[in-house]
C-alpha cells in the first residue's frame, strides 16, 4: 500500500470514469488527461481500467509499504525517489520504505502516478474515480492509506516511451461543431476562430472558463444533454468548456465540441495559458 505523507495541491484517484449512469445525473469523471493516464497504465502492463493518482499543479509526497513498480506520466513535477531524480514515462522499480516526492510542475498541469496492478480504492458505480457525494472521499488527504491490487501482469522491464512535447505546448484546440453552432452569425463564427483565448482562473475538473467573451444574442435552449468537451456560450458571452466532472445537462447553447484528444491537451493547460480553436469537419 501507499501512504500519503502530503497530498500536494489537489490529488485524486481516477480511472476511465463512469459510463451508463448519466441518466441518474452522475458525471462521467475519470482522468482529465486520459492520454497520459492510459500511457502510464500501459507502460506497467496494467488493465486500461486500473485506477491511478492524478496530481494537479503541485505533487504529493508518498511512502510505499511494499515493493512494486510505478510509472509517472503527464506534467513534469520533477519526481524524486528518496533523493534521486527519476524520469517520467518509464517503468520504475520501488522497494518497501521508498519515499516518492513531487514538486511544482515545470511543464503541464496534471501528473499521473500509476502503480503496478492499480489503486484498490472504493469502487462506486463501476468506477474508482473520486467525486463528491458519490465516493466517500473526493480528494486525497494527509495520512490516507491507499491499497494496491496484487498484480500478476508480466512487466515489460524498463519499458519507456518518448512523449511529444506538443501535448503540453500546442496552442491549438481541435473542435467539431456543437449542436447549436448553427445559431452563430457569420461574424461570431469568424471571431470564435480568430480569437486567441486565455484560460481564466476559473478552471477545474468541472469546467474551464475563458477570459475573452463572445458578444451574442443566442437564446437559451430547453435544458438538454452535455458531456465533457462541450463548449457552452452564455448570454453574457462567457465561453465555458466542460471537463470530466461536468454536469450531465445544461441550458446554454452548445456551440462546439472538443475532439477527445483536445480534452487531454486542454487538461494540461491552466490559468493564463492561451490557445485558439481549430474547426474540424465531421
Amino acid at each position: 500500500m501507499i501512504k500519503v505523507i502530503t497530498p500536494g495541491f489537489y490529488a485524486t484517484i481516477q480511472d476511465l470514469g463512469r459510463f451508463g449512469c448519466q441518466h441518474f445525473g452522475v458525471p462521467h469523471s475519470g482522468a482529465m488527461d486520459a492520454y497520459s493516464a492510459s500511457l502510464a497504465n500501459r507502460l506497467l502492463g496494467n488493465n486500461k481500467e486500473a485506477a491511478l493518482i492524478e496530481m494537479t499543479m503541485t505533487g504529493a509526497k508518498l511512502e510505499f509499504n511494499c515493493s512494486t513498480s510505478i510509472c509517472i506520466t503527464g506534467a513534469d513535477m520533477l519526481p524524486q525517489l528518496n533523493v534521486a531524480k527519476i524520469p517520467l514515462n518509464k517503468s520504475i522499480a520501488i522497494q518497501t520504505g521508498d519515499i516518492l516526492s513531487f514538486g511544482k510542475t515545470s511543464m503541464g498541469f496534471r501528473c499521473y502516478l500509476a502503480v503496478s496492478g492499480g489503486i484498490n480504492s472504493e469502487k462506486v458505480m463501476n468506477s474508482r474515480s473520486m467525486y463528491k457525494n458519490i465516493t466517500k472521499h473526493h480528494v486525497l488527504a494527509k495520512n490516507d492509506i491507499l491499497p494496491i491490487i496484487e498484480s500478476s501482469a508480466i512487466k515489460a522491464k524498463n519499458a519507456s516511451v518518448k512523449v511529444n512535447k506538443a501535448h503540453f505546448l500546442s496552442e491549438t484546440i481541435e473542435v467539431y461543431k456543437g449542436p447549436e453552432f448553427y445559431m452563430l452569425s457569420k461574424a461570431e463564427r469568424h471571431e470564435l476562430f480568430a480569437t486567441k483565448f486565455v484560460i481564466s482562473k476559473d478552471n477545474n475538473r468541472m469546467a474551464y472558463q475563458l477570459e475573452q467573451t463572445l458578444a451574442n444574442n443566442l437564446d437559451a435552449i430547453i435544458t438538454s444533454l452535455v458531456m465533457p468537451g462541450t463548449v457552452q456560450l452564455t448570454p453574457s458571452g462567457k465561453l465555458i468548456i466542460l471537463m470530466r466532472d461536468c454536469q450531465t445537462t445544461g441550458g446554454y447553447p452548445r456551440i462546439l465540441q472538443l475532439k477527445e484528444s483536445a480534452i487531454h491537451v486542454l487538461a494540461q493547460k491552466y490559468t493564463g495559458h492561451s490557445f485558439s480553436f481549430k474547426l474540424l469537419d465531421y
Partner: protein, 243 residues
Amino acid sequence: MAFNLKYKPYGERSILIEWPSIVDEKVLFDVLSFKEKIRNSTIELIINVNTAYNSILITYKFLNFNLNKSINKLKDLYLQKETYNKSACKQWRIPVCYDDFFAIDLDDMASAKNCSKEAIIKRHSQMSYTVYCVGFLPGFLYLGGLDGTLFTPRKATPRLKVEKGAIAIGGKQTGVYPMESPGGWNIIGNTPISFFDASKSTPCFAKPGDRITFYAVSLKTYYNTKALVDAGVYQMESEVLHD
C-alpha cells in the same frame, strides 16, 4: 405520433436526436418511447443513452463510428412499432415539511405575492409534477407542472450552501436538492426522503415519465420519517400510473 426529428453529430462518438423545442408531455413520452426502442434494439456498441426534455444523446463505444449508417439505423428504428409501456410509470408521494425552520424563503415569497404562506403551501402541494429529466446534480429531477402563480425569480445571489432535501422554486420550476449544494432557488421546505443514494444499484427511485406529488407534514413527522429513511426501512409511497 411521429415527430420530425433532427439527427446531429455531437463530437466524435455521439449522436444527438432532437424533437421540436417545446416542453410537452407528448414530446417527453415520444422521447422515452424511442429510448426504449434503442435500449431494446440490436444496434451494437452503444455505451450510453440519456434523455432530456426534447432530446436523446447516444454515445458509441469507439471514436469515428460510421455516422450516416448509424443515423439511418436510428431513423428506421424510430418508425418501428411502440414497445414503451407508459403504465410502468409511477406516481410518488413525497412528504415535505414546510415549517419556517426549513422554509427560509417562504416569508419573502408570501409578501412578494401578497398572499399567505398557507396559500403557497397549498398550491405547491396540490399539483402533480411530471419528471422530465435528471441532471444538474446526481438525482436532481427536472419537474414540470408548477402552478403559474408560484413562479419566482431565482435569488440575485445564490447561497453557497443549500441543505440536502431542500424543496425550492426557481423561475418556472420546482425541485428537490438531492444533496448539499450551492444554489439560487427559493427554499420553501425540506423532505426527509433521499433522492440519490450512490450505494444502490438504482440510485434514484424516480425516472423520467414518473410523477411526483408533495404533501405537507409536521416537524415531528419529518424527523420520524427521517429516522426511518436513515435506518433504511422507510417504505416509499407510490402507485402505478394508468392513462
